[in-house]
């Protein structure tokens, strides 16, 4: 036993140091440092502000999306939910005469409904989330068009538009980051420190194992989709105010960026694996890299290739490493087995 103890504790140390989320942050820091040295203008307060505001929508939706993927499902309808929210908000503000606070609250309700509808189809009817949310991806975006047509509403209160872009003092950090931190903290605590979060991991790894420890599978999934809907709606409201313009196409294509960032952040598409710090790292890594490369005048086309390459690499690399490790282990076991052919070995 003592032999196993030493090897495992060494393994543990290396695992801490090469854990996926830690690696993501090493890369992120490296990117930041290299950019500061080599990219003109990168070392600037403006960077902090622009960068954070640019990644904010992805960062926000990535939180509930991480939980959804950890629990073994996926939600492709997030960007459409944001679009529908934006459209609803625009029409309400233009036509209803309600004050902006009420309008925003009602708009968030859109997210609750969208999420609940996804959740209902997936948990009550037992449909695959991939197919359901491809359907609602089209449906919600379509409803956004139905609600607002191809009009735009741009008459939102100027102070509010300015507020979402305002910075904390002269740090360059956007005020909205405080809000984002609250959302991140909420989902980090929910996933890592609550009974519900523990249940999600079990659920993602094995729905059966989760059922056996009393996780209410349908219930948990339903609320995950509602949470995703609500946060997508928040992003819809944020985009509307940040763009000072409500339209049906706000947030188009966001779903793929979010999923790419979440997977890059170490969440397994099979479910059961991943954590919030890793996801935050993944979002910031893609955002920073894109930002720095743009500033370095790398062509936009190269940036798409980098994003896609990172995504493929982040999922292929662990497989390749695992394969290599398995080869080494098999060789070792092989030697051991040949070494001890005497009778009386028990099956460990």
């Amino acid at each position: 036993m003592s032999k196993t103890m030493t090897t495992t504790s060494r393994g543990q140390l290396s695992r801490r140091l090469i854990g996926h989320d830690a690696v993501i942050f090493y890369i992120l820091i490296t990117v930041v440092i290299i950019s500061m040295i080599t990219v003109n203008y990168f070392a600037s307060t403006l960077t902090v502000g622009f960068l954070l505001i640019q990644v904010l929508p992805i960062l926000l939706i990535a939180m509930p999306m991480a939980l959804v993927i950890v629990s073994g499902e996926i939600d492709l309808s997030v960007a459409s939910t944001a679009g529908l929210t934006s459209a609803t908000m625009g029409v309400l503000w233009r036509d209803s005469g309600l004050d902006i606070g009420t309008v925003m609250a009602l708009s968030l309700l859109v997210g609750v409904l969208c999420g609940a509808f996804n959740g209902f189809l997936i948990t009550t009817l037992g449909l695959p989330s991939l197919a359901v949310t491809i359907g609602t991806l089209a449906l919600y975006r379509g409803l956004a068009l139905v609600v607002i047509g191809d009009q735009k509403v741009a008459s939102f209160p100027k102070e509010l538009n300015a507020f979402v872009l305002s910075k904390i003092g002269n740090t360059g950090i956007p005020v909205m980051m405080i809000f984002a931190l609250i959302v991140i903290a909420f989902f980090a605590v929910l996933l890592h420190f609550t009974p519900f979060g523990r249940g999600l991991y079990a659920l993602g790894y094995s729905p059966q194992a989760a059922t056996f420890v009393g996780v209410r599978v349908g219930h948990a999934k339903f609320w995950m989709f509602v949470a995703t809907g609500v946060v997508s709606s928040m992003v819809g409201v944020f985009l509307t105010l940040r763009l000072a313009s409500a339209g049906p196409d706000n947030g188009t294509g966001l779903e793929l960026s979010v999923i790419a960032a979440v997977l890059l952040g170490g969440v397994s598409i099979f479910g059961g694996k991943g954590n919030i710090p890793g996801v935050v790292g993944g979002v910031l890594l893609i955002g920073t890299l894109t930002y720095a490369l743009r500033l370095a005048k790398v062509p936009e086309t190269a940036l798409i290739i980098v994003t896609g390459g990172l995504l493929v690499l982040s999922v292929v690399a662990p497989s390749v490493i695992a394969w290599g490790k398995e080869r080494i282990r098999l060789n070792r076991v092989h030697r051991e087995v040949q070494g001890q052919n005497a009778p009386g070995i028990t099956r460990a």
């Binding site: 991991y201 996780v215 087995v337």
Partner: protein, 529 residues
């Protein structure tokens, strides 16, 4: 330890074996699944392979099938060395396998499931569905079962699925046909048909390897019997020259009393009361009670409905009528959460898929059932969590380098202890253990048995499901035997013998007199309809 060559009966010495495996070994990570796999199948013989669960039979079968390649040993087919890299190579060598669990394609038709990869071709090299259907129908006629070759496999009963597997294997015209517990889910008539077919194949010169737990089948069908235990070859016999007790002794290989140390415990009040539980198509009229400190074994063949009853009691699956109560209070149906709250723990049969979240750490797995009680204001305290995990791991002597290691790095026995720890931590009144020692080495097995016995001693009611007769006979205060969804016998510790349990489990009539007269039985059967 004797080798096959020295001790094999010499009756068929003149013929070249259709297949011969000597000293094959196979390991999976830390688990040695097969240490000495040795078997010889002659053309024109039916060869039975017996052994307890975990004796390595299925691993041996998978080596023959080309699913696993052995780490060591000698493997000859028709006298020539064979190294199968995959299933197709094994098939090409004339070996056809019926697995324990049917492996059908649910979306394909029955006929296609039989002929996939070698569908009959018609015009222009295209698959001829008519021909395929005709041949499938022919096979079913041979087997005497009326299955529609055109229906899709999804939704077929286990028995029908198994029949399709058999039809598939037969249609291959193999030199060697391996049947891994093909009869577990079949009824008497179907079994008889299968045997007729097997004998016909033998006449044609095929070698048949037959794995079964049912001794009357083994003795009724086979020419020779090979016994395995703990991953090793033990002995081969001519069937005519050996008796059931002798085989059982070789399979178990030890005195029952030593291994299954059930202590006497004070039997207390009724903890679990199951009343008239019915689930259409799965089980019928299930009534029993378990008292504090009592170990009740639920025995029977695979597919008899044992696990299904336990799952329904725990709330994993819904049931159609009846009731379950714990300590006199009725339990809500179909809610594991309520069952846990009421004090039931469940150690499931499939440790890797149902019992554990393999990628999570030991600590997380242990505290998974405690997640609500460890939380204050909804937030789990890391300190209390670690303390609880540490405490329970120590109490059960889980051997692990660190609480933070993924539970997948542990051996089977230690994994099972983690599952037990997780449930003991909830302080249960009733613990359901489903195949608690499956795939666990002998040493840890005894530890698990001692643990379960201890728990009963401390007043916990235990419902144990086990396919290992010695375990059932050694541990249980009472044995409930199930057959085809009903409880067919209730035996006290004193009454429970291997023969009686097996008879009740296989539905032989004389087993039933123990607690039912024929009249009572027929009334019961009527009521069930």
């Amino acid at each position: 330890m004797a080798t096959a060559a020295e001790t094999a009966p010499a009756s068929h010495a003149a013929r070249t074996p259709a297949l011969s495996l000597r000293g094959a070994s196979k390991t999976f990570g830390p688990v040695i699944a097969l240490a000495d796999g040795t078997i010889e199948i002659l053309p024109g013989e039916i060869h039975a392979l017996v052994g307890e669960n975990g004796a390595g039979k299925s691993t041996l079968v998978k080596i023959l099938a080309g699913v696993h390649s052995p780490d060591g040993g000698e493997f000859l087919v028709e006298g020539k060395p064979a190294h199968f890299r995959n299933v197709s190579e094994s098939k090409a060598a004339g070996i056809s396998v019926i697995y324990q669990e049917p492996t059908l394609f649910p979306d394909l038709t029955v006929a296609e499931n039989i002929f996939i990869g070698r569908q009959p071709k018609g015009r222009a090299g295209l698959i001829s569905r008519g021909e395929m259907r005709r041949r499938a129908a022919e096979l079913f006629t041979t087997l005497g079962v009326p299955i529609d070759p055109d229906r899709i496999a999804d939704g077929l009963s286990i028995a029908d699925q198994q029949i399709i597997e058999i039809a598939k294997a037969i249609s291959l015209d193999a030199n060697v046909l391996v049947m891994d517990e093909p009869t577990a889910a079949l009824s008497g008539v179907e079994v008889e048909r299968l045997f007729t077919v097997a004998r016909a194949l033998r006449e044609k010169g095929a070698g048949i390897l037959f794995i079964s737990h049912r001794f009357e089948e083994v003795f009724g069908l086979s020419d020779r019997i090979t016994v395995m235990r703990d991953g090793r070859y033990i002995q081969v016999h001519n069937t005519a020259e050996v008796t059931v007790p002798a085989i059982v002794k070789e399979m178990v290989g030890r005195e029952l009393g030593d291994l299954f140390p059930k202590q006497d415990a004070e039997i207390g009040d009724v903890v679990l009361k199951v009343d008239g539980l019915n689930s259409i198509g799965t089980f019928t009229g299930i009534d029993f009670e378990i008292r504090a400190g009592e170990i009740v074994a639920l025995s029977g063949l695979v597919g008899a409905g044992r696990t299904e009853v336990a799952r329904a009691v725990f709330g994993i699956d819904p049931y159609d009528s009846g009731s379950v109560s714990i300590g006199g209070a009725a339990l809500k149906a179909h809610s594991p959460r309520d069952a846990i709250a009421a004090g039931i723990g469940f150690v499931p049969e499939d440790r890797r898929k149902q019992g554990l979240v393999l990628d999570l750490s030991v600590a997380r797995n242990v505290t998974l059932t405690l997640r609500h009680s460890l939380a204050r204001f909804g937030i789990i305290s890391g300190r209390r969590e670690r303390a609880a995990a540490e405490d329970w791991s120590q109490r059960l002597q889980v051997k692990t380098g660190s609480q933070e290691l993924p539970v997948s790095t542990l051996s089977g026995g230690n994994q099972q202890k983690v599952v037990l720890a997780k449930w003991l931590a909830t302080d249960p009144k009733l613990l359901i253990v489903d195949e608690p020692t499956r795939g666990i080495d002998v040493g840890t097995k005894a530890e698990v048995h001692r643990l379960i016995s201890d728990l009963a001693g401390r007043g916990i009611a235990i419902l144990m499901i086990s396919s290992e007769l010695p375990e059932v006979l050694g541990m249980a205060d009472r044995v409930l035997v199930m057959h085809e969804g009903r409880i067919t016998a209730e035996l006290s510790r004193a009454d429970a013998t291997a023969e009686r349990v097996m008879q009740a489990a296989t539905g032989s009539r004389e087993a039933l007199h123990l607690d039912l007269t024929d009249e009572e039985l027929s009334t019961e059967l009527e009521a069930g309809k």
